[in-house]
Symmetry: D2
Subunit: 295 residues, 4 copies
Amino acid sequence: MKIGFIGLGNMGAPMVRNLLKAGHAVSAFDVNPAAMGALVADGANAAASPAAAVADAEYVITMLPAAAHVHAVLTADDGVLASVASGVTIIDSSTIDPASVKTFAALAAARGNAFVDAPVSGGTGGAAAGTLTFMVGGSALQYDRVKPVLSAMGKNIVHCGDTGTGQVAKICNNLVLGIAMAGVAEAMSLGEALGIDPHVLAKIMNTSTARCWSSDTYNPFPGVIETAPSSRGYAGGFGTDLMLKDLGLATDAAKSVHQPAFMGALAQQLYQAMSSRGDGRLDFSAVIKLYRGDR
Amino acid sequence: MKIGFIGLGNMGAPMVRNLLKAGHAVSAFDVNPAAMGALVADGANAAASPAAAVADAEYVITMLPAAAHVHAVLTADDGVLASVASGVTIIDSSTIDPASVKTFAALAAARGNAFVDAPVSGGTGGAAAGTLTFMVGGSALQYDRVKPVLSAMGKNIVHCGDTGTGQVAKICNNLVLGIAMAGVAEAMSLGEALGIDPHVLAKIMNTSTARCWSSDTYNPFPGVIETAPSSRGYAGGFGTDLMLKDLGLATDAAKSVHQPAFMGALAQQLYQAMSSRGDGRLDFSAVIKLYRGDR
Amino acid sequence: MKIGFIGLGNMGAPMVRNLLKAGHAVSAFDVNPAAMGALVADGANAAASPAAAVADAEYVITMLPAAAHVHAVLTADDGVLASVASGVTIIDSSTIDPASVKTFAALAAARGNAFVDAPVSGGTGGAAAGTLTFMVGGSALQYDRVKPVLSAMGKNIVHCGDTGTGQVAKICNNLVLGIAMAGVAEAMSLGEALGIDPHVLAKIMNTSTARCWSSDTYNPFPGVIETAPSSRGYAGGFGTDLMLKDLGLATDAAKSVHQPAFMGALAQQLYQAMSSRGDGRLDFSAVIKLYRGDR
Amino acid sequence: MKIGFIGLGNMGAPMVRNLLKAGHAVSAFDVNPAAMGALVADGANAAASPAAAVADAEYVITMLPAAAHVHAVLTADDGVLASVASGVTIIDSSTIDPASVKTFAALAAARGNAFVDAPVSGGTGGAAAGTLTFMVGGSALQYDRVKPVLSAMGKNIVHCGDTGTGQVAKICNNLVLGIAMAGVAEAMSLGEALGIDPHVLAKIMNTSTARCWSSDTYNPFPGVIETAPSSRGYAGGFGTDLMLKDLGLATDAAKSVHQPAFMGALAQQLYQAMSSRGDGRLDFSAVIKLYRGDR
């Protein structure tokens, strides 16, 4: 397939490499020329603009930081919608708010294009290994159409429902994640202060009703899970500032549907406190420092 | 073994039955005579006081609502410490604060008795089926001594560390549980309002980083897990008022070690709001009503 | 003076009336023709568009619901910037985020116009009586220029600092207000439940360190302050949904400067809970219902 | 009058001095002999026990850290109730929970004594100057009886209602205080980050709906109020650990009447975070450091 790909950051670049490995032809664009140069060696074509990247594409994929960037890439004079052929499906793997998805889908529909939201989980590791999970929002037909392409970059391609529900799934998942991690951090720190061995505490929680990914796979207490960021100084992993962005999307989405988000809003402030003290790049499990200090 | 058992409520009574089934001789006491009568038919001896129940016991087990009751049962004129033989181990399966455990252990030690904390998880169902988990705080020697007796009532007998750590494990586990459940409730309700099918959302969360017992086993959204209280009007299960008690123990324990408990304190207020509106007996997953109303 | 006025809602309409009373000539525009009709009888000119309203204006005043409306009114083809004369000062009395103020000021500056933020406090009562407080953001020169015009509509014209600081003052003020009201509601309800006469409690708080506008002027407990909305079924006053909007601006502003907003974010969820249950139009002091129920 | 006074700490000692100045005879006791020695020079009699201090007293006054101390001082073998004459009124100026007040009043009544709660506000400064406010819980008769004695130590002697309501007034007042201070800290810090002059912001808030004691008298931003602890490095004033104690009483009291305390519970965690980082002795307005860091 001929694929136009916009956004070659930490996620986009390895995704393009996996598309190339699978035999697709990729015409790529990024505002940073260096990002394009690195991919040309791997077989990608460096495009001069979003419009150029998608001019003869059969699929368009965007992977951008926020809704404002997606809007610009779609609607600029040299943007995607200026040159993409009618009937081509645009897949947006950025994490953005569901309302913007609907706006973009309407813009695309006016040009005869489908716009499918397909945010990912799995991080830069999953992007490199081609094991991402894609949460796809669109009709059954659209899902069938994008699945083969996404399969070159991911392991699980999940159909979430209509347009926008891919983002809803991502946001709701990360809302629980941000809350549960703060909760596990609070409990592990409390247990330590009350004199239980953190390894023993984690083991008990992991076989009981406190069992969760934030405890059994990604425990924030150093040394409990050897492969977790907490065991390497909270380096790598899923950055606090990224969690902060996702909780912002969640609380904004709650506001948009007139629901309170008690737990999410508080968790958001805790990660904000971490970011404010200069720890925004640490893995989000470093939130335990608010309880334990820098031990 | 000859066992003196004090406290024959919803948990204590089935625990006694399992001890009897295992061939132990049980002398039982409760302030409610009817509770004793029901067990006599099963082979228990009804004692006239805690002192009488434990007079010739080789083990003492207490299962009471709160620390004040344990204190009274131990220290009353006709209490356990007034008649129990030196060297007998007292096992307290109540859920109480770790500081009280240490006080009671000192009182018992002064009389030549070990006091072992062994709170349970598994609820009334686990008590009836003999599949409770016991979280045991005490020395390795004490653990070895109580394990055979507890095995008649439970499946997992976990050694948590020194005296009091059984309560610490219980409290920290339920702290995470109360937080995670409120978080899952918030996310499921948000997802519904944003238009994703709750069954699809739960399925995605359960295979991703939001995975937790509160979502994959006990999801608060009606119909998602057929066996969960949410699918039967939040009847049965683990009552909101019990969760409220445990979160109270957790936030009090945090206060005692001078740590904040941001997430736990907020979750506590949410369950309190449920209890205040008259829903304290509903399963704690009914907290989702704060987001969804009574749909 | 010749004044172009855009936005004739509950606030804008009485503001225009006061300008007319002071002898100014007002050319007014609103998307709702009925709103214009009502003012023509009072002497205003009904304009066909924002551009028409400001074509020969010496001052422009906008009073709109949100930043998106201000943006549209400024930049539309028939908008303010399309026809306003160079050198004319644009005064925006809407409550919007400080970042948008800076964007709009830059747009205006590019056309040779000053853009001054001047949000108000005092509500519809103050607008009708001409006793509003205006919080003005702009240079000292700009402040001097707008003060005479604003004085026709308000009693206190406060210079807050450079462009945007009028909004900062408004947002920070209402952040404290929303928090303090929720706090007073919590305490008054607690006091009632603990058996103190609410009138006595309020009297003590009002002469002690709990003294605040939310207690001594606008107490949320019915009957304590006869003139407060709480004493007339929470009708009128400052609506919950308006407080919700302002706390949204405050928490968003905190996010923009990477600060946590623990108390504001929680208060926001409480007002959101009120709005969700259908009480968004009640005065914001009705938040006490979350504690007292509907008594 | 002959007065037995128990508890000679930072508050009790200056209160005794004012009683002596007013011509009362004071027999004083404290567990710390040095505290008694310092008062003997001022004319007090140093008693060997609470019982000795009150043996021939016409009034008893207690000023102790917590309910457990009051309980011990009342009921010990050499305690107040062991020797106080029937008919003597016991005035407790400690800040404790209302439920304990009722327990103590019942114990006293069984001995023929009235027990009146009369907690204070005004701090060590007010204690020294004799300008404390006393919040009195008891019958009208009891109030009339204690007022002359309390007037030697305070300026405002307020009758709050029946036994326990003095504590209720104190707790509810400080609940609002702790919340409002955290709110003002959040807003002042936000305003600073958004670029408004903190002096201007405070001035606006103090003449608008954010007006409160925490802003206009005790503003947490350094330099805004010259006499506030914030302007002298948060030294002196009302310590964070004392605010923490009072918010603990408030949230516990809310729990006892089955009400949520959303705002109070969160504020409590913020002061706890301050205490945990070693700032428990700083004035409670130092909570602004959680937002501004140590600037």
